[in-house]
């Protein structure tokens, strides 16, 4: 069996990854992390942009992390990234219900090398409590990855779910911030999200999620175009690989594929965040 990257040799940035850590209540946390890195190398992922979601429910709920758990997870994520600077970048995770802590944690995370902010489902996306966080994101030039349920039709337990419409309202209030709408294939009706965010140019869906509905990629390209989409895996790396292979079948121009694979990420985070991708002067101006 060839050990060539399954998704080809070109740069590839996963903008939605997670790692585990010792305080998350799992004895196999190191195996999970090692499996992500092994599969990433097998696929050909140049950079994983990752976060740790507090204690993942061990000592506070995954989508409502306590300030202490958020900080603990961020410290673990910072340590992982510092230990593997060739492959890892990271988001600082905060709970906007604790505004002062969240703002302080963003500053602390940025000083430790975080290149973005991760928001969960601790508060609805268009809630005013998110405004100070977004103002700081704009001042620091940090993209915001926001957990989203595609088409919120009712409340679901253990999360304050937001959908594309909710996040679009926040993005319209903060046009200087780049928002990443999490996992278009990660649950809920993706077909609802596409028209909901079409006219909000600073909002970029990532393609991750366990769902591999046929027609999703075609529709996303039709509604938003390749320059708005970001490749990612989240919790299921095989679906990420499957989507890359499906993009090949669609026959997109090479530039469009490169945009989705890594160049859009370089535009959002800054090409300097990903030096192992092609030189910065090849990144087309936004």
């Amino acid at each position: 069996m060839s050990d060539a990257p399954l998704a080809g040799d070109g740069p590839l940035v996963d903008v939605h990854a997670h790692f585990c850590h010792a305080s998350a209540g799992r004895t196999d946390w190191e195996r999970i992390n090692a499996a992500r890195m092994w599969a990433g190398d097998r696929i050909g992922i140049t950079y994983h942009v990752a976060s740790i979601l507090g204690s993942y429910g061990h000592t506070s709920p995954p989508y409502f992390p306590s300030p202490e758990d958020a900080a603990c997870g961020n410290e673990a994520m910072a340590a992982l990234a510092a230990g593997d600077p060739m492959r890892l970048r990271w988001y600082v995770t905060v709970n906007p219900n604790h505004t002062a802590h969240a703002l302080g944690e963003i500053e602390r995370g940025a000083s430790l090398g975080a290149i973005g902010i991760k928001l969960l489902a601790s508060r609805r996306a268009d809630d005013p409590l998110l405004d100070p966080i977004c103002e700081l994101a704009a001042a620091r030039g940090l993209p915001v990855l926001h957990h989203v349920w595609q088409h919120r039709t009712r409340e679901w337990p253990n999360q304050e779910i937001s959908d594309g419409r909710d996040l679009a309202r926040l993005a319209e209030r903060h046009p200087r911030v780049s928002f990443i709408l999490a996992h278009l294939g990660g649950g809920g009706d993706w077909a609802h999200t596409l028209p909901a965010v079409r006219d909000v140019p600073n909002l970029h869906p990532d393609l991750s999620g366990s769902g591999v509905d046929r027609g999703m990629l075609d529709a996303a390209l039709d509604f938003l175009g390749a320059r708005r989409l970001l490749w990612a895996c989240d919790l299921t790396m095989e679906t990420g690989l499957a989507r890359l292979r499906a993009l090949d079948v669609l026959g997109l121009p090479a530039d469009d594929v490169a945009d989705i694979r890594w160049r859009n990420a370089a535009r959002l985070f800054g090409a300097a965040a990903f030096p192992r991708c092609l030189p910065a002067d090849s990144v087309r101006a936004t």
């Binding site: 992390n33 499996a35 092994w38 599969a39 366990s210 591999v212 299921t236 292979r245 079948v249």
Partner: protein
């Protein structure tokens, strides 16, 4: 290797691009698959499956070398026993049943009768756990996912082959470890909805159940056909040479007197 979980026809709750036999034949060639068991998607929600079965056989008539019909038999419909025999005689590769869409509980005697009748005809009975993720379903699409209790009841009651498509790790394990070794051997699973890395559910199931309990299913035209192949390609080193079962061999069993 054949695809045991393909369909033709439209889905009532979402637009599907060109779900026709010609498209499926092209996809099979692209994916290196040698054939498919093909169901008729609209029939899942029909009360009387006969017209949908007829449409399926007609649509596949010019592709039978690659596409084998997987028609529906509903065991609460008058004359289902005759329908089953006719369909098997006409070359059905397996029989599809949808107890959740028909409102049948796990111990429904009619489903058990169907499983036994399929077993007597050495024809696999194919069950579908889900068509879409629970979180995106249409308000009218209210049937819950198939349960492990349904599968266990059928595996215990009939010596026939069961093929279960669309299950995740939890349902597979709950079923498998609730069966005797003889009963376990009656059940095969596709892994279209089983997670790969980093959780590595598929590798875990291969290690604990054995890869021979699994068959290849894509769920085309609902899902990307690239997904099961990607999952196999990302198996860790100790499972790279794992060999799954070709569902075609399950159907062929009925041609060999036992």
């Amino acid at each position: 290797m054949i695809d045991c979980a393909a369909y033709i026809g439209h889905y009532p709750f979402r637009y599907l691009p060109h779900p026709d036999p010609e498209g499926l034949v092209r996809v099979l060639a692209r994916e290196g698959l040698t054939g498919a068991w093909v169901g008729h998607l609209p029939t899942v929600w029909h009360r009387d499956p006969a017209p949908g079965n007829a449409a399926l056989f007609e649509a596949l008539a010019s592709h039978r070398a690659l596409l084998a019909p997987a028609p529906v038999v509903r065991p609460d419909w008058p004359g289902w026993e005759r329908m089953l025999r006719d369909l098997v005689e006409r070359g059905a590769a397996c029989i599809r049943a949808y107890p959740m869409q028909w409102g049948m509980a796990s111990n429904d005697p009619r489903m058990i009768e169907l499983a036994r009748a399929c077993g007597e005809l050495a024809t696999p009975l194919l069950l579908t756990v889900r068509f879409e993720d629970l979180r995106q379903r249409h308000a009218l699409d209210v049937a819950p996912d198939l349960t492990a209790a349904h599968v266990r009841a059928l595996a215990r009651a009939s010596e026939g082959r069961l093929v279960v498509t669309g299950a995740g790790r939890e349902l597979i394990e709950e079923t498998h470890w609730g069966l005797t070794p003889d009963e376990q051997r009656r059940v095969h699973w596709d892994f279209a909805w089983v997670w790969g890395p980093p959780e590595e559910h598929l590798a875990h199931l291969f290690r604990t159940l054995g890869p021979d309990r699994f068959v290849y299913g894509t769920h085309w035209p609902l899902r990307l056909t690239q997904n099961p192949r990607a999952n196999l390609d990302l198996l860790p080193d100790d499972q790279r040479n794992a060999r799954i079962t070709d569902a075609g061999s399950l159907a062929a069993i009925r041609k060999t007197p036992t």
